[in-house]
């Protein structure tokens, strides 16, 4: 239980800190870089190194590379849905989650089985 509380606090703090940085910077395309900041990753990997060891964290890092490619295509999908079809941000971001899921799980299945 304590571990999950620490995870929650670390993750919440890291995500909030990067979100504030994203609010501060202009132009918007630059601020968007912080939308793909490793906020959840830093907190989770720090805990993984501490609890499960280096080999476990290395495997998480390797899978994270596929997740990142899925995030790239997700962001492109969100951008296109809002610019071309003028969908509201909430609808575009939720719909595009299917892109992330398909690419992440499909990529993992293709590369690592």
């Amino acid at each position: 239980m304590t571990e999950y509380v620490i995870r929650f606090c670390l993750g919440g703090f890291a995500v909030s800190a990067f979100a504030v940085l994203g609010d501060l910077f202009r132009p918007k395309s630059f601020a968007g870089l912080f939308g793909a900041a490793p906020s959840v990753a830093v907190a989770t990997l720090a805990m993984a190194f501490w609890n499960q060891g280096a080999a476990y964290a290395a495997l998480e890092g390797r899978s994270m590379m596929i997740g990142s490619l899925a995030l790239c295509l997700y962001s492109v999908a969100v951008c296109q849905l809002m610019k071309r079809y003028e969908l509201p941000a909430l609808v575009a971001t939720v719909l595009s989650l299917t892109v992330w899921t398909l690419i992440a799980l499909g990529g993992k299945w293709l590369l690592f089985g």
Binding site: R7, G11, F25, R26, F30, V40, A41, M64, I66, S68
Partner: protein, 170 residues
């Protein structure tokens, strides 16, 4: 356009919006850990790049931009969507930085945990900034050569309607 800091943007975010981000971020981290515990690090690792707080962030950006325009007396719906779309375009570039982060962890985890996290963070920063800088240069070049103010566009306009420019690109 140069990168600048706009401190007044912090005043636009209300306390409950900060709280929402904190809770979403905390929950995303707990879920990523729980998925890794249940399904192993290969599935869990995917969720380290899950766009958990992207929905909340994009919605806030759209809302803030729309409110700013409406305060100025114009309809801000379209501008709000454009701002959120630009943020998503930035995130697409930043995701390559995240890929570099994952690669550094994968390659360096065996040496030292702190070294791996430090180098990975630096890799995220360098790759993201480099790609953004390249994209900005390409955009500027395209504007100069093919945009509405380019010499070609100027030549295609009738002289009376052509926008005037003081100096050429070279």
């Amino acid at each position: 356009m140069n990168v600048r800091i706009k401190l007044s943007a912090l005043r636009e975010t209300r306390w409950h919006e900060y709280l929402t981000r904190f809770v979403f971020g905390g929950l995303a981290t707990v879920c990523a850990g729980a998925i890794a515990s249940l399904s192993g690090p290969e599935i869990g690792g995917l969720f380290l790049a899950f766009p958990a707080v992207f929905c909340a962030s994009a919605t806030l950006i759209e809302k803030h931009e729309r409110e700013r325009k409406e305060k100025a007396g114009v309809r801000g719906t379209r501008r709000g969507k454009e701002a959120a779309a630009l943020d998503a375009a930035g995130a697409a570039l930043g995701s390559f930085g995240l890929l570099a982060f994952g690669a550094a962890i994968w390659l360096l985890a065996g040496y030292s945990s702190w070294l791996a996290i430090l180098v990975a963070s630096a890799a995220w920063c360098v790759v993201s900034l480099l790609l953004w800088s390249i994209r900005r240069r390409i955009w500027a070049w395209r504007q100069l050569n093919f945009g509405p103010w380019s010499a070609a566009a100027q030549a295609s306009f009738p002289k009376s309607k052509a926008p005037r420019i003081e100096a050429g690109p070279d």
